[in-house]
């Protein structure tokens, strides 16, 4: 039995034991506990990932729950040829896109559709622990604002590359776009952020 502290991860799956692929294999063989470990490992990173696109915590959690539900129901669709993390991020990303399309159809006014200046960005209270200094809060909030202001195609690649630290190849798999496109979008996205956040980045 694993030590519980080892199972909790907020920073992605890399470097943790047991590997994701072993867990999903165990789950495919009927070990539901392995699924619980997967949920433990991925719920926070996925909620963060989706939050970048939906801007609503409730909706993000809903999408992530749906993601896990899909994994639960379709566990046998996972094949060992791909990394588990890219598989689950692909599912989550697709569900987020579906949610965005649904919002568009229903003409829901989403914060991600607002312009930069009139954006009423609400940082959830819980993302900062009380001991973090105010400066960090402001910095984090500003960066998040700028990420939000990025066009979706740049935002998704930059978030996957620099926040979630996927390789270009993995991002190419998750988003189903060529590696060259991923690279150029990451480059352009970073340059935009760099331009906007110059005041925060200067030494």
């Amino acid at each position: 039995m694993l030590d519980k502290t080892n199972r909790v991860s907020t920073g992605g799956s890399r470097g943790k034991t047991p590997p994701d692929e072993e867990l999903i294999a165990r789950f495919q063989n009927g070990d539901v506990y392995a699924f619980e470990l997967i949920v433990h490992r991925y719920k926070d990173p996925l909620v963060n990932f989706i939050y970048n696109f939906l801007g609503s915590r409730i909706d993000s959690e809903d999408v992530v729950q749906e993601t896990f539900l899909r994994v639960f129901k379709n566990k046998h669709l996972y094949r060992d040829v791909a990394k588990f993390s890219t598989w689950i991020y692909t599912i989550a990303g697709n569900l987020a896109k579906t949610e965005l399309r649904r919002r568009k159809r229903r003409r829901v006014f989403s914060i991600s559709q607002m312009g930069y200046d009139d954006k009423d960005y609400d940082i959830p209270d819980t993302i900062f622990t009380p001991d973090k200094i105010v400066e960090n809060q402001i910095k984090g909030g500003t960066i998040r604002k700028e990420i939000d202001a990025l066009p979706a195609k740049f935002k998704e690649v930059v978030v996957l590359r620099d926040v979630h630290e996927f390789s270009y190849e993995e991002i190419s798999t998750i988003l189903n776009i060529p590696i060259g496109t991923v690279k150029s979008r990451v480059n352009r996205g970073r340059l935009r952020l760099q331009k906007r956040l110059k005041h925060l980045l200067a030494k």
């Binding site: 619980e36 433990h40 719920k43 993302i127 760099q194 956040l197």
Partner: protein, 193 residues
């Protein structure tokens, strides 16, 4: 500061550590000489660092609990659907059973008429009237038999014709009798009510 145009893409690879050792050395050499590129790369590094250490959202406490409940509900619904689709996929069974019952029932109800028109040869005719059916024992013969049950007198009138396909055309024998063994000049019949 903007980086040198020729280096923009190389600097990205440099940051992402996706270049060969020789390329790396070449870029580092350039960075020493070029203030713009050097500043650019510093800012990019800083940006990456900031993005990596961005405050994160945690899933709410009840997330796992709600997920379990959601999965449980979904699985229950799926089982229901599976059961329903099983019935649907096997609906041929009850349908066939109903058809069988209907056919048997109608055969039973109309068996007298059917028996009447198929009279070429059977030795026994059963005339049903509700549950207490009169039973006629007839010798082998050709031709048709028409019968009329006289509800009031508890009798059966039998008409035999010589042409099976055109019953009643030429009556060659006609008897009317009550329950019991009835004899006529041509045949004997057992009629029971």
């Amino acid at each position: 500061m903007s980086p040198c145009k020729n280096f923009s893409r190389d600097l990205q690879d440099y940051i992402d550590n996706e270049i060969s050792r020789s390329q790396r050395l070449e870029i580092e050499k350039h960075l020493h000489q070029c203030a713009d590129c050097s500043e650019h790369i510093e800012e990019l590094n800083m940006l990456r660092h900031q993005l990596k250490s961005l405050p994160t959202i945690k899933a709410t406490e009840s997330f796992h609990l709600l997920l379990r409940e959601r999965i449980r509900r979904e699985m229950a619904a799926q089982q229901k659907r599976t059961a329903f689709s099983y019935v649907l996929s096997h609906r041929i069974v009850p349908v066939a059973a109903v058809c069988l019952v209907l056919v048997t029932g109608s055969l039973y109800i109309f068996k007298d008429q059917i028996g009447f028109f198929q009279q070429a040869g059977p030795e026994q005719v059963t005339i049903s009237r509700n549950s207490d059916a009169p039973s006629l024992m007839l010798p082998p013969q050709s031709g048709s038999i028409r019968y009329v049950i006289d509800e009031y007198n508890d009798t059966v009138k039998l008409d035999r014709t010589d042409t099976p396909r055109r019953p009643g055309r030429t009556i060659i024998d006609s008897i009317q009798h009550r329950p019991g063994l009835v004899r006529s000049s041509r045949h004997a019949a057992q009629v029971s009510f």
